[in-house]
Symmetry: C2
Subunit: 160 residues, 2 copies
DNA sequence: GGATGTGAGTTGCTTGGCGAAACCGAGCGT
DNA sequence: ACGCTCGGTTTCGCCAAGCAACTCACATCC
């Protein structure tokens, strides 16, 4: 039989069963950044449409994303993060900072700020100005020094 | 042409170019847990040997792992985390905690402790007893309530 | 009213990454 | 001399992912 799952008694392995497929974490990142619609995500990532459809429905089935209708006729949907999805924020922040540090020669493409005081957020998800321990809802992202000048600004609407 | 890279101006995407292939993060987790040799990792993960060889050499090329000879004749190697690799600790901790919370019905398979005070480590990599902000070197792992009873204990030697 | 556009997918063909298992070579134990 | 271990490489076949085209339901432009 083929060994498709990791099949390990380990929370990293179990997380990767859900999050580890190609594109999955980037889809979640896009939703964190306010991209909620199929076409917006597809254009942003350049992922094949069938693969995006598969990832989205898997994430909905896993309770990480939630589909909400925003238009009755024609029927159109948006994807939102659930509580389970929002709790991936520390994972995203940690990966982002690692990439900023080791792979972003031109500086961080995106900088995360604390909504309340405007301070930047460190790799542990804490505010560097006021020291508060933040959650996804307490923060917003802005283009940083390493951002692509031609890139559209990050959608700023709340992730929830 | 095939779209093999994510090709995005984003630190999460760039990190995933390096870390996002199947097995890569689990190889790193194993090295964090003191498994440093080809056969030990291969047995633990059940990954195909050719794939493991490819992942290890990629990680060495990226400067995340470092190959050290531990036997002259026959020539044998061990893999260690570099500073760049050790800095992935917050990522591993965050993923582990998310998996513990949402995917570990029987409790956490592994619990991370602060070496100095023995307190447990939270999802931000901070000590829950003394509040210290920890690095990979300050912590060790132990089997938790959800561990497989038959599992061998985690190798305790330092990761560096 | 015909052409064009958009949102949200599905279908079908193709390709290359991954899995399985065999093989290899240097040295070690007996 | 024979097998065993460690650290891989080789070979081969399958399936997940890529690409492009198609669908369906509406909306808008001319």
């Amino acid at each position: 039989m083929l060994n498709r799952e990791y099949d390990q008694v380990c929370s990293v392995a179990r997380s990767l069963e859900v999050l580890g497929e190609r594109w999955t974490l980037l889809v979640i990142r896009d939703v964190f950044n306010g991209k909620r619609r199929f076409d917006a995500i597809q254009r942003d990532l350049g992922v094949a449409r069938n693969v995006l459809a598969a990832r989205l429905s898997r994430l909905v089935a896993e309770g990480i994303l939630e589909k909400r209708r925003y238009s009755e006729r024609p029927t159109r949907y948006e994807y939102f993060l659930t509580g389970k999805g929002l709790d991936l924020w520390p994972v995203m922040v940690a990966m982002m900072h690692w990439g900023d540090r080791y792979l972003a020669d031109a500086g961080a493409p995106l900088v995360i700020h604390h909504k309340e005081c405007g301070g930047t957020v460190d790799e542990r998800g804490c505010c560097e100005r006021c020291g508060a321990r933040l959650e996804a809802r307490d923060a917003y992202a802005e283009p940083g020094p390493g951002s692509d000048a031609t890139a559209p600004a990050v959608a700023r609407a709340d992730t929830v």
